[in-house]
Structure formats: structure tokens, C-alpha cells
């Protein structure tokens, strides 16, 4: 992997991965059909798994572009889910 | 320390089970038994191995509440397994003999304490 690729993937894993986790935590917290304290904790636990999963993805994807795409796409979905789940 | 005897038994059974599973592998069978492993005999080591591990799990269920017991049972694999791993290259035959001696000793201890 070239230094540029490594840098790009590292950013994808760190920033993108964290963002993915945060959005998952938020989306799950407001959309899961259960008491909100339970939704929150499940969201948090999933978020941490997604963060580490994002890192695995970022460094195993075929290219740095794919690394970013594989993290940004679900992030957007989760962001949308969060907005949809927000109380009116 | 009433949980010491069953804990010892759980560890001994885990050790025995792990040793048995290791004997199902060519390299370790050669180390311990001094002769080659026949492919058809692999299951003679695998089945008892898993059975002993299951028994170890069963004993841990008597020591800790369910959730913790499941975790500890797996943890005991580490505590029983690491000495085995480091014994195999140096004292393979002893490692094998312990797989028989330890559970026997543990059962004797447990029954003595239980009957006392």
C-alpha cells in the first residue's frame, strides 16, 4: 500500500469509522422500538463494533476509494435513519 | 473456600479435555505417545476431549451463576491450557500422565471434602 493509500485508509478508519459508530448510536437510540434507555445502550454497543469493523474494512478494501465508500454509504443511511426517527 | 475442590476439578477436567484434543493432532500425539497417530483413531481423542470439556463446564455451573459460569468455563481453558502448551515441548509424557492424574486427584479431593 502506498503512503497515500495508507493515509487515506487511516482517515477513513479513524474519522469515517468514528462517524459511522456515532451515527449508528444516534440512529438506534431513536428508532429501536423499546424503552429509550435500552435503545441507547444497544446503540452504543453496536457503535463500538462498527468502529472496529470499519477499521477492518478500511484496510482490507481493494482501494482507498472503496474504503471510504464502504464507510460513507452506511453512514448516510444511518444518518437518514436518525433523522427519520427523531420525534417531530 | 468451599469452591476450591470443584474449581480444581473443573480445571483438571479442562486440562484432560485439552490434552485429549491435542492428541488428536499428529504433532502432539507423536510428542506425548511417542508413536504415530493413526488417522482413524482421531475421533478416539476428539470425542472424549470435548466430553471432558463439557464436564468441566458442567462443574463450573455448580460454582458460579449461569452467565459468569459460561465465561469462567472458557477462561479455565486458558488457565488449564497454557501449562499444557508450555509442557508439551519439554515434558510431553508428563503432560499426558497429568491428564489422567489430575482429574483422579480432583475427584478424590472433592469427594473427601464433600463427605467430610
Amino acid at each position: 500500500m502506498s503512503p497515500l493509500s495508507i493515509t487515506s485508509r487511516t482517515l477513513a478508519a479513524a474519522l469515517g469509522g468514528y462517524g459511522l459508530g456515532a451515527l449508528a448510536a444516534m440512529a438506534l437510540a431513536v428508532t429501536l422500538p423499546m424503552a429509550r434507555d435500552q435503545a441507547v445502550i444497544i446503540g452504543i454497543m453496536v457503535a463500538f463494533l462498527l468502529c472496529s469493523g470499519a477499521a477492518i474494512w478500511a484496510f482490507s478494501a481493494r482501494s482507498a476509494w472503496q474504503a471510504w465508500a464502504g464507510i460513507l454509504a452506511p453512514s448516510l443511511l444511518l444518518g437518514g435513519l436518525y433523522l427519520w426517527g427523531l420525534p417531530a | 473456600m468451599t469452591m476450591a475442590p470443584p474449581l480444581f476439578l473443573a480445571l483438571a477436567l479442562a486440562y484432560a479435555g485439552l490434552t485429549s484434543l491435542s492428541l488428536a493432532m499428529k504433532r502432539h500425539h507423536d510428542q506425548v505417545m511417542g508413536r504415530k497417530l493413526q488417522p482413524e483413531r482421531v475421533r478416539y481423542y476428539r470425542w472424549p476431549g470435548w466430553l471432558l470439556l463439557a464436564l468441566s463446564l458442567w462443574v463450573t455451573l455448580t460454582v458460579w451463576p449461569l452467565g459468569l459460569a459460561l465465561f469462567m468455563a472458557v477462561g479455565l481453558v486458558a488457565i488449564a491450557g497454557l501449562p499444557l502448551v508450555f509442557l508439551l515441548p519439554y515434558r510431553a509424557r508428563l503432560a499426558g500422565r497429568l491428564a489422567v492424574a489430575l482429574p483422579v486427584l480432583a475427584m478424590l479431593t472433592w469427594s473427601t471434602v464433600a463427605l467430610a
Partner: protein, 539 residues
Amino acid sequence: MNKSFRQSMAWLHTWTGLLLGWLLVAIFITGTSAYFREEITLWMQPEVHDSTLQPGTVELAMAALNAKAPDAKSWDINLPGARQTAVELRWQPAKQPENGGRRRGEQMLMDADSGEVVAPRATRGGNFFYRFHFELYGIDRLWARLLVCLATMFMLIAIISGVITHKKIFKDFFTFRPGKGQRSWLDAHNATAVLALPYHFMITYSGLLLFMTLIMPWGIDAAYENDRRAFFSEVFSRGEDSAQPGSPGQMVAVGPLIEQTETRFGKPVERIQLTNPNRDNAQITLRVNRDPAVTDRQRGGDPTQVFQGNTGELIDTRIPANDPVSPGWRIYNFFTSVHMARFADPLTRWLFFLFGVAGSAMTVTGMLLWVSKRTQQLRRDQQPDRALKMVNGLNMASITGLMLAIAAYFLANRLLPVTLAAREDREIQVFFIVWLVSLVHGLLRPNRHGWIEQVAAASLLWLAIPAVNIFTTASHLFTPLAWQHAAIASFDLVCLILAALGGYTLWRLQRKPLPAKARGARAPRRANTASEQPAGESP
């Protein structure tokens, strides 16, 4: 699973392991010691060693509290147990700070035999290492915790990538090939990592969970509209605030109540809480020791009985199982309780200590493996480059250096004058000075000689601890007092075991260095392809 996936995971594993590996070694070692933090603190306060629970201890405790704080809003008595020898007395003074400042309780230690107040030497005890392992020391708390969290996430990624890249994880489950340099270190790393893998995953993931409000609070804000207080009160509800003190009243004798509770639960009462003592609306809460780690709610977990303090009438009996917890929180509680080995009895605690040792061994062997591999790849007349020397030196500091510093901390506890000002800080300063010296030494001598020197020094210091104990306390290994309480004797025994381990390591290190052939001199071409593996792939 294709080769390049494994290779990229090997790369990731190496980097996430190496970058903060030294911090992870320190976290694991100090964290492992934290399982016994109360016992360590006990050992570091010899003044309280000669104290044993008596039938009359509770009365003595009540008398002491009556003498010291008769008007307090509440009293709290922690009786001696497996982890402490003295009675811990706490109380909430009647007058609280006006402007809503933190409610400051007061406390003192009491000898269980004589009822006298004990003033042990000032020390942070085992709590220094406990706190260090998640917020370090001397650094801004927030940044320290964030750094630890970053290391924890690196660790989690290292675990996952390590499992993916370990090609023969089942076939090599029991494999250990000694005397083969880098291969041996790899086997040791694999063994300690794979055999205790569930523990390593648990300890790492739960470490993140324990810091969730710091590093992943966004779900809380989202669901509670930024009202975090509402979240905390819903989940971590504190006990009900005690009622206002009534008029003066007579307290009933506690002894019979203790008997009642002990009969009810079949366990000794460990803790006695009295709200509004010496008032006519006094309440006495008796708590017994909990069962090992449970998934119940944090504070409601003790089996307790609550009595009216003036009449002795039983008001309430609380049992953990009756407190319902949702599945999500059960999982959280399980992870966090197991991380801290909460409610663990001594034997279970020892097992957790061993798990932690396995984890420490995993991180240590990982760091040593990296150096060993690069060293073996050097050609016969090639010198290690600066990076390799630096990593080797840093390894020394974080492994043998840390063990040296910990031993020095304990020695300082025995050797520093009891009346020394700022004694707590001095002990900690000794720790850091020794650690710093070991770092400098490691960077100056990043070779076999340096390792031998540090291992020898560490063995000496660990051996010195029980020895110095003989001259400075009345509770060393040759006295009956030390053996009365398991924790006290065990401490010295562990010191001896560590010294013995150091001695054995020294003996192995002193033997002739590996022959040049095994160290990487590539005379026959065929040997190359066998030993020159792509980075990280298991042979």
C-alpha cells in the same frame, strides 16, 4: 479467505499493536494488579494488619461513631472481610456545604479488636495502579482517558485482525516451539492470545463500554434531547435521599438484627448503614456480600434488610434477583462487572488475576516478537537500525522497567519515613523516577546486556520486598500475623514468585546467544524461503 486479506490484516495487526503497544503493556500490567487493589492497599498499611473481627466489633464501631459524630446524618460501617482487616467508618456530617457543593463524607479506620482509631501511613496504595490503568497520572485527566480509549480501540482492532490473520488458529492451538527465536515468541504470543481470547475481547470491549459517556455519548443526547442527567437517573438511580433527621431517639441494639439478617441470607453481614442515627426516625440497613458478578442493576445488587432503627422492626428485604433489568443493560452490566471482577470472592479474583497475567503476557510477547523478528532478519554483520534500537529500548522500559518501578513503589512504602510530608506523592515519585531511569537505560543500552541488567535489577528489587518487610514490619512472612490474613502473606509470596521468574529469565538470558546461523545469516539459499516470511504471517 484470500491471501491479501490476511496480509492486510497482518499489517493492520502489527501497526495497531505496535503504535501504542507500550501503553497497552502498562495498562494490562497495572490493570491486572488492580484486581487486588484493596489487598495491595492493605499490605501497604502495616499499621492495620493487627486487626481481626471480633463478636464485639460492631458495638465498638457504634461507640466510636457515637464519640466522633453523634449528630451525623448517616453512618456507614464496613466490617473486616477478605479484603480488609480494619473497620472502615464513614459518616455524612450534619452540616453540608451551603452552595450545593459535593457532599463530603468523612471517614476513619478502626481497629476491630480494640476499637481504637488507627492512623495508617499515608499511601495511595493499590489505587494508584488502578487509576493509572485508565487515566494515567500527572496528565490532564480528559486527555489521558482519551488516550487510553484510543489504545483500547487499537487493541480491539488488533484482536480482530489478529484472529483473521492467524492462519492455523486451530491447528496451532497447542503449538509452542522453544529455542527458535522469533518463532518461539510468535508461538508464545499466539498461545497467550488465543487461549484466553474471550477474556481479551471482554476486557477490551468492556473497557470501551466503561467509557461510553466520554467517547460515544451521541445516542444519549439523541434519545434524551441532550438531557444527560435524565439518562443517568433513569439508569443509575441512586438510593433514595434520607429523610430529614427527627428528634433525638434511642437506638436499638444492632447485634440481634445482624443475626437475623445473617440467618436470612446465610452469609455474614459486611456492611451496616445507619441513617439518622440517634434520632427517632433512624433506619438500619444491613448488607451481606453479593454473589459473584451478576447482571443486576448496579446499586440494587446487594442482598439487604432494612430495619427501623429504634424498634428493630424489619421494614424491607431486598434481593438482587427481584430487580428487573432489560436485556441490553444486562449485557452492559455483565461486561462491566466482569471487567472489574466485581463481587468476586478471593478464589475467583485470583483467576481473574491470572487472566490479566495472560493478557499482559500477550502484549509483552507481541512487542518482543516484533523486535525478535526484525533482529533475526538482520544479516550477520548488519547492525540494528535506529528504529529497531528505539523499539527495543522502549520495550525494556515498558516491560522490565515497569516491573522495576512497581517494586520500587512497594519498597518506598516500607522505607520512606512514616511521618514524611506528602508521603503519598513521594511514593509515586519514586515509581516514576525509577521508570524514567529504566527508560533512559533502555534507550542507551538496547541490547542483550541492557536486558540482563534490567532483569537482574528487577529480580533483586522484588526479592528485596519481603526481605525489607522483615526489618520494617511485624507482619512479614516469618510472623503468624501475616498468615492470619491471606492477602498479607500472599503479597510477599507473589513478590518471591516474581523474583524467581526474574531469576529464571536471567538464567535463560545468560546462556550463549543464539548461534549466528539461526540469527539470520543466510548461507544456504534454501533456508531463506522458509524463514523469510512476509511480515506477520505465521510460519
